[in-house]
């Protein structure tokens, strides 16, 4: 029986090679289709990764650890106390520790932030702003705000009364480098507190709500000013890849869920200051609009994929069907010699499948080649979108670096093989149903 199938497979292979030009044309549709699919998927994944990375660096990171109510209230009442901040930092440090069970997670940076809403005032006017107390060193590694310097410099660890201010805000308040600025916000005790700072640097991200409404000051200054020693509103984590987000979230939840400091207010915390635990949020939860943008883009890709596969399927169907109709006599001979109808159909099906597998291999090779070229230099879309491309409030680097994911490649190749196989089913059925006596007529 096995020998019989080998005979049929060999026959199918010979038939595939015999119609070299037809096979090559059909294969080329599949090869180019698969290569295009791989390339566009790699570019799409690269673009998404870039969107996400750029987005989360200006926001709460791939993973944010915060008090449960903070997302909704934005109030200092919903902050992490010092014990929770320490616990959160330890848990983050353990993510990339050697020997940890589970899939490895690379942590690129972690930033502790104390964020409040308040007013920024200059002698001439006052503007509502978001004030972030940040650790300058950690923030520089985490955020790209320091790279968006318009003038001056970014915050330094030795700074005390320094401020890094959006260029738009500076314009509205008439601020320059060295100008003094008064920040006003409600402190932890419920009183209104003021803090005088001096502008040390200006940034311009291209996002109006950031440029016109954000002020960063040293974390230590913010804690002292607001009366929240050791506290933070969030510990933000930047991962090596957004793909690790769910692993990181799962590990952090498992780790922090069992930590005593996260279960209840720590000793010495002000009443009502801390939530009962630490909430671990993924970027999808923290920035749902960014996730929506990725989903919508993915949907567009799937539409493209369906169209592409429909074209590939029609190309295979057409080629294999034509080949079957040209060879009715041959199939008649095969049945006269003792093949069953199912075996005759299987020869045709195998031909389509062989073509698809061969095309899959070549398509993956071509896809790798083309995408590698793009990967080497990146795909620069600045000519199309300029340098201020923003998606969901995040400025996106217009140079996209494709990302190869083996699972994506395997998925695309599998689709091509499955499509090739499916498209061969109808021609196989046609071959199975030929009228043998009619096919063998001499004068056909």
């Amino acid at each position: 029986m096995r020998a019989r199938w080998l005979v049929l497979a060999r026959l199918a292979l010979r038939n595939t090679l015999r119609q070299a030009r037809r096979s090559a044309l059909t294969a080329s549709a599949m090869v180019v289709g698969l290569a295009l699919l791989m390339m566009s998927r790699a570019i799409g994944d690269g673009a998404h990764e870039q969107w996400i990375t750029d987005g989360v660096r200006l926001a709460l990171g791939h993973v944010a650890l915060e008090a449960p109510g903070w997302q909704a209230s934005g109030s200092l009442d919903d902050r992490l106390d010092s014990a929770q901040v320490s616990a959160a930092r330890r848990a983050v440090a353990e993510l990339s520790a050697p020997g940890r069970t589970g899939r490895p997670v690379r942590v690129r940076a972690a930033a502790v932030r104390l964020t409040v809403s308040g007013l920024a005032s200059s002698p001439g006017s006052a503007v509502p702003v978001r004030i972030e107390g940040v650790d300058p060193s950690a923030e520089a590694a985490f955020s790209e705000l320091d790279e968006r310097l318009a003038s001056g410099r970014y915050l330094e660890p030795s700074d005390r009364l320094a401020a890094f201010v959006g260029a738009g805000l500076a314009d509205r308040l008439g601020l320059h480098l060295g100008s003094r600025l008064v920040l006003t916000a409600q402190g932890a005790a419920g009183d209104v507190a003021e803090q005088l700072v001096r502008v040390r640097g200006l940034f311009r991200t291209g996002i109006p709500e950031v440029d016109d409404g954000l002020v960063q000051i040293p974390l230590s200054t913010a804690r002292q000013w607001l009366g929240t020693p050791g506290a933070a509103t969030a510990v933000s984590v930047l991962l090596g890849s957004s793909q690790s987000t769910s692993d990181a979230v799962e590990a952090l939840r498992a780790r922090l869920g069992s930590h005593p400091a996260t279960a209840a207010d720590g000793p010495g915390d002000p009443p009502g200051a801390g939530a009962p635990g630490i909430r671990v949020l993924s970027w999808k939860q923290a920035s749902p609009e960014l996730e929506s943008a990725v989903r919508i883009d993915d949907f567009g890709f799937y539409v493209f994929m369906v169209v592409l596969f429909a074209i590939v399927a029609l190309a295979v169907l057409n080629a294999v069907l034509m080949s079957v109709l040209d060879r009715e006599r041959e199939f008649g001979v095969l049945e006269a010699l003792g093949l069953t109808r199912a075996e005759t159909g299987s020869v045709v099906f195998t031909e389509g499948l062989l073509l698809a597998v061969l095309s899959g291999i070549l398509g993956v090779a071509l896809g790798f080649g083309v995408t590698w070229l793009l990967w080497r230099h990146g795909l620069d879309l600045s000519a199309l979108y300029g340098n201020d491309l923003s998606i969901s409030g995040a400025v996106i680097n217009p140079v996209i670096v494709p990302i190869f994911r083996p699972a994506r490649v395997a998925e695309a190749a599998a689709y091509v093989v499955v499509i090739g196989g499916l498209a061969s089913l109808y021609p196989a059925r046609v071959a199975m149903r030929i009228d043998v006596a009619e096919a063998l007529k001499f004068d056909r």
Binding site: R4, R329, E335, A336, T340, V436
Partner: protein, 276 residues
Amino acid sequence: MTDPGRPVPTERSSEPSADAPPAVRTEGVWKIYEQEPQPVEAVRDLTLEVQPGEFVAMAGPSGSGKTTLLNLIGGLTAPTRGRIRVAGRDLTELSGPELARLRLEHIGFVFQAYNLLPVLSALENAEFTLLLRGVEAGERRRRVRALFQEIGLEGLEGRRPSKLSGGQQQRVAVARAVVGEPALVLADEPTANLDSATGDALLRVMERLNHERGVTFIFSTHDPRVMERAHRLVHLVDGRIASDVRQAVHRGERDGNWAADAGGRAPGAEPGGPGD
């Protein structure tokens, strides 16, 4: 050239045993093609019995039903009415796979258009049915090479059909039909496209196989040479048997070294038969 489980007919054993079923028996067979403006009755109430080892030629004008009858006997098309038995098995009761198996193991086909598989070499074409039957490679090659030597195809084993002459292709087709030692070979106008010398040579091969190995041959033909050399000549007209004549054959002068003189009695050589 031995199939396990099937005794090889020898020159002596080419005479059918008394209790062997007929090689072919058709009983009141009709084949009607439904087509406009009116149905075509290609075969009409045809009853024919062919004994094992017979060398039968079916003659008749175009459209007389010769090819249809061969297709019916080969199980390539089903009768509209009637029964067909091959080696005692009723084809109308066999499933598709069972028919395929019967064709593979008991019937060889030779077509007017040769119908070799173009992607296979001459040797691969000839051994195709043995491959399907799972015969071991060494045995396959041995059988095919021996046969090729006998029918003058030595040295052409590796050639594709497109590189062979018509006569060579038809010899490969005959080799393919007989290499598995089928009990029955159905040949549809096997010499129609061949020059007389090649046609003669091919006939000698088939005569020898019939004579030495007891293979039953049924030809459809317009070729007087085939009719002349057949042991039995069945004339079809309008889908019916018009005459069925058993005839004496003299082949010795042309047999050369391929076929021994058929000095023995040809099976059923006396005139008359079921279809008369």
